[in-house]
């Protein structure tokens, strides 16, 4: 594929690895924020091409992984309500709730539909006017405008049987939270390129200053990631902080204006609980008061039991970069993609899933 294959060129990746080796004099720990980047790194073995003094740790950028368990329980309860259709991206279906997952709910007779685009959920609602159709809206800033568009469509087209169960999260508050931890080992960040496609990176300048780190806006192909690491190591060695844009073919500093306008029309910033991590102030998006009637938590009066959290999953530690999937005693034993204890084992952006698919057990 044009403009993809060129950025997967192994010879360029090896040359960048050599460059990093020459530049890196001290020990540095770099966090790639996005789970898509984690998968690219582990799939291509980029971590094994880096010198021993450069450590990559995997960040919290897996929206499926950080969705709180009580929202999963609520999605399951909504799905099991008669005359209801729950629409979701496929990887939410295997995420364990307190008792079971959405796949089990489907097996019990719930109408759970896997969608490829949020717009599909509006079409399903239009075709089923006698049923309540709920979109389980999970994601970071990249997905927020796409889920937000469904609300605008449902409002404009008067699709009154449509609503949204929102678990949207934001990247910059998570970066701040990670750096506020005195035990944080992170020296620099590879920021998520596609999040910045929407938001731009004006606010990242202040973030780099506040966290005293270099932040490199980075793409997802192996050459992108190696160049992101190279730029980050270069800045660390020169004791520089600030923002650089490796992914300039796609990301502009001002981001996507239309998408930003839609987010600010449809959503409002709220405190959000991140599964395994805790509550992070101003780190989530809920529907704004203007569209409150489309909020599934407003439309359905569902009481779920207090969530059960003791599965033994270390996802919080993994997503804050405090340990790696292979450090978990359950990894590959009790916890596998078929019998997951936590979300990072099933999400396509989960670190445990990446290690399970592409690494030998015990390797890093």
């Amino acid at each position: 594929m044009k403009f993809v294959n060129e950025y997967r060129d192994p010879s360029l990746v090896r040359l960048l690895a050599e460059k990093i080796k020459k530049t890196a004099k001290k020990n540095w720990t770099i966090m790639e924020v996005c789970g898509g980047q984690t998968h690219s790194i582990v799939r291509s073995g980029l971590n094994k091409l880096l010198p021993d003094n450069i450590q990559l740790i995997h960040g919290p950028g897996c929206p499926v992984c950080v969705t709180p368990i009580d929202l999963i329980d609520m999605a399951i309860a909504i799905a099991l309500t008669p005359n209801t259709i729950l629409c979701s991206f496929g990887d939410m279906l295997r995420v364990p709730g307190s008792s079971f997952d959405l796949i089990k709910a489907k097996a019990l007779g719930a109408d759970v539909r896997i969608i490829l685009s949020p717009i599909d959920a509006v079409h399903i609602a239009k075709k089923n006017p006698n049923k309540e159709v709920v979109l389980f809206a999970v994601g970071f800033e990249t997905t927020a405008p796409t889920n937000g568009m469904t609300i605008k469509m449902a409002n404009d087209l008067k699709v009154v049987n449509f609503s949204l169960l929102s678990s949207h999260v934001l990247v910059p508050p998570a970066i701040k939270y990670i750096m506020s931890d005195p035990e944080s080992k992170v020296d620099g960040f590879l920021a998520a390129g596609h999040v910045c496609t929407v938001t731009g990176y004006k606010q990242y300048h202040e973030l780099a200053k506040a966290t005293d780190t270099p932040i490199i806006i980075t793409g997802f192909e192996p050459v992108d990631i190696m160049q992101g690491i190279s730029l980050c190591v270069d800045m660390l060695e020169k004791q520089e902080t600030g923002v650089k844009n490796q992914y300039s073919r796609v990301v502009k500093e001002s981001g996507n204006r239309q998408a930003q306008e839609l987010i600010s029309d449809v959503f409002t910033v709220v405190d959000r609980h991140w599964r395994g991590i805790g509550s992070i102030p101003s780190s989530g998006l809920d529907l704004s008061s203007k569209y409150k009637t489309f909020d599934a938590t407003y439309r359905f009066t569902i009481k779920t039991d207090a969530p059960s959290l003791d599965s033994g999953c270390l996802s919080g530690m993994i997503m804050q970069g405090k340990c790696k999937p292979s450090d978990c005693p359950h990894f590959g034993k009790k916890c596998t993609p078929q019998t997951p204890l936590g979300a990072p084992m099933v999400s396509t952006e989960g670190a445990c899933s990446a290690y399970y698919l592409y690494c030998d057990k015990g390797s890093s």
Partner: protein, 65 residues
Amino acid sequence: MKTFSEDGILMADVDFSGVTKKVCLSFTPEVDIGTYVVVHVGFAISILDEQNAKETLNLFKEELL
């Protein structure tokens, strides 16, 4: 490839290396046919800057080779 309106939303048929899919253009309304876009969950979220993509690769090659 073509653009069209569906439910009042600007859409396009987009070619993914041989597979054609419907994509929403609400966030990139200025896009022309023949342009590369980044698509996320059925939405074009960014237009690829071809000149920039080529220059970045050439810069790598000059610097590294």
